[in-house]
């Protein structure tokens, strides 16, 4: 508590509370609206925030169950949302595991070993991480096209291609893990090596168990970033049943086929788990996001 308080403080506190609450109402309006819309019947209905005739129509469709209306008409689910969600999760989990494995071992070398070109490589990684892959899409498309002629599961329109392509964005994670390794005292590992452990054993049995928290964070971060990846997946994936959620979701809102209500249910269904994971891990995630940029 500060010692010197102007008299107007009480009013300013009140104004701050009101201001922030008002702001939060505006900020949350779109999110509340979309939840409300997912319970309205029809795709064009408008109404208040609390739907007058709540209907589970869109939720049935989002879950892939044909919906029978009151007048007996049966609506088929427009898109395989659950399949898209499954594709997204599959790609994201495999990517995150690969990214975690590869960036942990690299970060170990960067944090503990001396070798030629270390500083140069680390700095170049920081620079290249800023180049968005969307700009080299033509080249990436050509690359996977050529590989796909000989290695089928890595070609265009395969999940393998999307997974492998996500490995290009490892620099950020390497920096995050390296920062954490740097903060762990290396005397334990040195003692183990004096006792006859190999470098690999020191890494595997001493450093890794100490670093579980950062590994969890990097895994979640890599997972979320792959789930949200749009440009690469939108070019590499073609078939409807191969799409990820990020690419497929926009198909609800085409001018000619505007399925606002169905979209709302699908959005809540797929967005909620990701949002909750993010909120739960936000402290670590934010630390990880900023570490790559500022920490040495």
């Amino acid at each position: 508590m500060a010692m010197v308080q102007p008299r107007s403080t009480k009013y300013r506190v009140l104004a701050s509370h009101l201001g922030m609450l008002g702001f939060i109402v505006i900020i949350l309006f779109p999110l509340l609206m979309v939840i409300s819309i997912s319970f309205r019947s029809g795709n064009f209905a408008s109404g208040s925030l609390l739907p007058e005739n709540p209907s589970l129509e869109h939720w049935y469709l989002a879950l892939g169950i044909p919906y029978t209306g009151e007048d007996g008409t049966v609506t088929q689910p427009p898109f395989p949302v659950l399949l898209w969600l499954w594709n997204s999760i599959k790609i994201a989990v495999v990517s995150a595991v690969l990214i975690l494995a590869l960036s942990t071992t690299s970060a170990y070398a960067f944090a503990r070993m001396r070798f030629a070109g270390k500083g140069f490589v680390l700095k170049s990684m920081l620079i290249f991480q800023m180049f968005p892959p969307v700009l080299s899409l033509v080249a990436l498309y050509a690359l996977f096209d050529k590989i796909g002629n000989h290695v089928g599961w890595l070609g265009l329109n395969t999940h393998g291609a999307v997974i492998v392509a996500s490995l290009g964005g490892m620099a950020l994670h390497i920096w995050t893990i390296k920062g954490y390794f740097d903060s762990i005292d290396r005397s334990l590992e040195e003692a183990a090596i004096v006792d006859g452990a190999t470098t690999w054993q020191a890494f595997r049995y001493i450093l890794l168990p100490l670093s579980v928290p950062i590994l969890v964070v990097v895994f979640i971060l890599a997972f979320i970033m792959t789930i949200m990846e749009y440009p690469m997946a939108s070019v590499l994936l073609v078939d409807t049943d191969k799409l990820t959620l990020a690419v497929g979701a926009q198909q609800y809102l085409y001018e000619q086929n505007y399925l606002w209500g169905d979209f709302a249910a699908a959005a809540v269904l797929s967005g909620l788990p990701i949002t909750l994971i993010f909120l739960y891990c936000q402290k670590w995630i934010v630390g990880g996001l900023t570490a790559g940029g500022v920490k040495g």
Binding site: F128, G168, G296
Partner: protein, 497 residues
């Protein structure tokens, strides 16, 4: 011992697979890609065999990943920027030549009327020639037969020829037939009533020129434009990819239908990125200051609520806004109509569309700035504010004389990174407006809300012309901007390694 055998076995298997890929690419004349994988495999073997490079084994997979999916595509894109690679010039010269040599046309002079007869053994095609009639062996006509002989005949098969109605039903299967005569001619269906001889469309000469056998026009390969061209200037499609030097760049500067949109988009991209950074920083800093204030209770609640826009996946919230801003069904227009009686046209008016994009992006981006500022504010010693309060400073004075000077330095690299990110904020534009409304008079797809990066994407992937070369040239220009920004950033943040 087992481990050593296993290790070498795995290594040998991987190298074998890589060599197969390299050879296959080489055989298809994909020299750049063959070279890429050769370099990658060779360096992998070198690193994993060389004892002294032990540390490099750990970093090799990550470096290889970056090399393959970031650095190589970047260089390849720069390379494409100097070519005319596009939908009309997609193939290599050899592929174009093969393609043209494979073309055929049907003769006008050598034609046969035919009749189709159904016999016990199957369908029989009977061709009536001027000098010699031909007949095929019995056929199934189920689409599986391609080349069948047509032998000289003198007598029609027994029975009536099938009616036109039945021939129409069998049309596609008849069309796929290739009849081979004894003197080496090929015949194919020319119309419902006739078969005609097939001739090669082009003849290749020793000097590389080709002649159209139908029109007798000769075309010469023009390696400056990547097309076969005749003396009159007619060109044959498809063309092949050739190096055209700086032409793509010159086009951006000199062609008014590209220059105009390009500069409009460039200015908008800059203003969008600057405005986003300013808005999100202002809002984020203000909220961070409020949350940092000792007098405020319930910080955990506020923090979680304020962070929500950041936690929702962007591809979902952008689409939510797309629906909410919809001109006819959108909830935002319903509210505005109820309150003020207006229905702004968010997607077809350029100024409104840009306003909407800034609103949405501020919504998406302020929590990140808020979190950054909260971290930085915590590092400011509290007694500085005590001292300024003694001097009678209010909150505004505090902000500009104490807080900002202290946090601007650590904040700068993050602001530049945010600028660079938004400069290339493809997902926002692609999902929200798709660049609409369009710029009038542009020869390439260009919209008033397009950022440079979505503009290049549309040139490459949405336009029917698919002008990869031009898109790559513009991408190269963006690479330079991004590269400069990240170098500045590296200097400012004083990275130690």
């Amino acid at each position: 011992m087992m481990r050593i055998i296993l290790k070498w076995g795995v290594l040998a298997a991987l190298v074998g697979m890589a060599l197969y890929l390299i050879l296959a690419l080489y055989a298809q004349q994909e020299f750049v890609f063959a070279m890429l994988f050769l370099v990658l495999t060779a360096s992998a073997v070198f690193v994993f065999v060389h004892k002294k490079l032990y540390a490099h084994r750990y970093i090799f997979p990550a470096i290889a990943g970056m090399g393959l999916f970031v650095i190589f595509p970047l260089m390849y894109t720069v390379g494409i920027g100097f070519t005319n690679y596009s939908a009309s010039n997609l193939l290599s010269f050899e592929q174009v030549q093969d393609n043209l040599m494979d073309r055929t046309y049907q003769s006008d002079s050598i034609r046969y009327d035919y009749g189709l007869y159904q016999t016990d053994a199957g369908y029989v095609v009977y061709l009536e020639g001027e000098h010699q009639d031909l007949v095929t062996p019995p056929l199934e006509l189920d689409g599986s037969e391609a080349s069948v002989p047509a032998l000289p005949a003198s007598k029609r098969p027994a029975g009536e020829s099938l009616a036109m109605r039945d021939i129409i039903q069998l049309r596609s299967n008849l069309g796929s037939l290739n009849l081979l005569t004894e003197d080496g001619r090929e015949l194919s269906m020319a119309s419902l009533r006739s078969f005609a001889a097939i001739h090669d469309q082009y003849t290749l000469h020793d000097n590389g020129s080709i002649t159209n056998n139908q029109t007798d026009v000769t075309y010469f390969p023009d390696h400056d434009t990547g097309f076969y061209r005749s003396a009159d200037g007619d060109s044959l499609s498809p063309g092949w990819t050739v190096n055209i030097g700086w032409d793509n760049y010159l086009k951006v500067v000199s062609d008014p239908t590209i220059r105009g949109p390009f500069f409009e988009i460039f200015v908008w991209t800059l203003s969008f990125a600057v405005a986003t950074v300013v808005f999100t920083l202002a809002l984020g800093l203000l909220l961070a200051n409020l949350l940092q204030w000792d007098q405020i209770r319930g910080k955990g609640f506020y923090r979680t609520m304020l962070i929500l826009p950041y936690a929702v996946p962007a591809f979902i919230s952008i689409l939510v806004f797309k629906g909410l801003f919809n001109q006819n069904f959108g909830e935002i227009n319903l509210v505005l109509e109820g309150l003020f009686g207006m229905r702004p046209d968010w997607f077809s008016d350029p100024a409104l569309a840009r306003t909407m994009i800034l609103i949405v992006n501020t919504w998406l981006g302020y929590p990140y700035m808020m979190l950054l500022c909260m971290g930085l504010l915590q590092a400011i010693p509290r007694d500085l504010y005590e001292a300024s309060a003694m001097d009678g400073a209010g909150p505004v004075n505090n902000l500009f004389n104490v807080t900002l000077p202290l946090i601007i330095k650590p904040l700068m690299p993050l602001l530049i990174a945010s600028f660079a990110f938004n400069f290339n904020n493809f997902v926002l534009i692609a999902l929200l407006t798709g660049g609409a409304p369009d710029i009038i008079g542009a020869s390439t797809p260009a919209g008033t809300t397009d950022l440079l990066v979505s503009y290049t994407y549309r040139i490459a992937f949405q336009d029917s012309g698919q002008n990869f070369g031009l898109a790559a040239a513009i991408a190269t220009a963006i690479f330079l901007v991004v590269g400069a920004l990240s170098l500045i950033n590296l200097k400012l943040s004083k990275v130690k390694v």
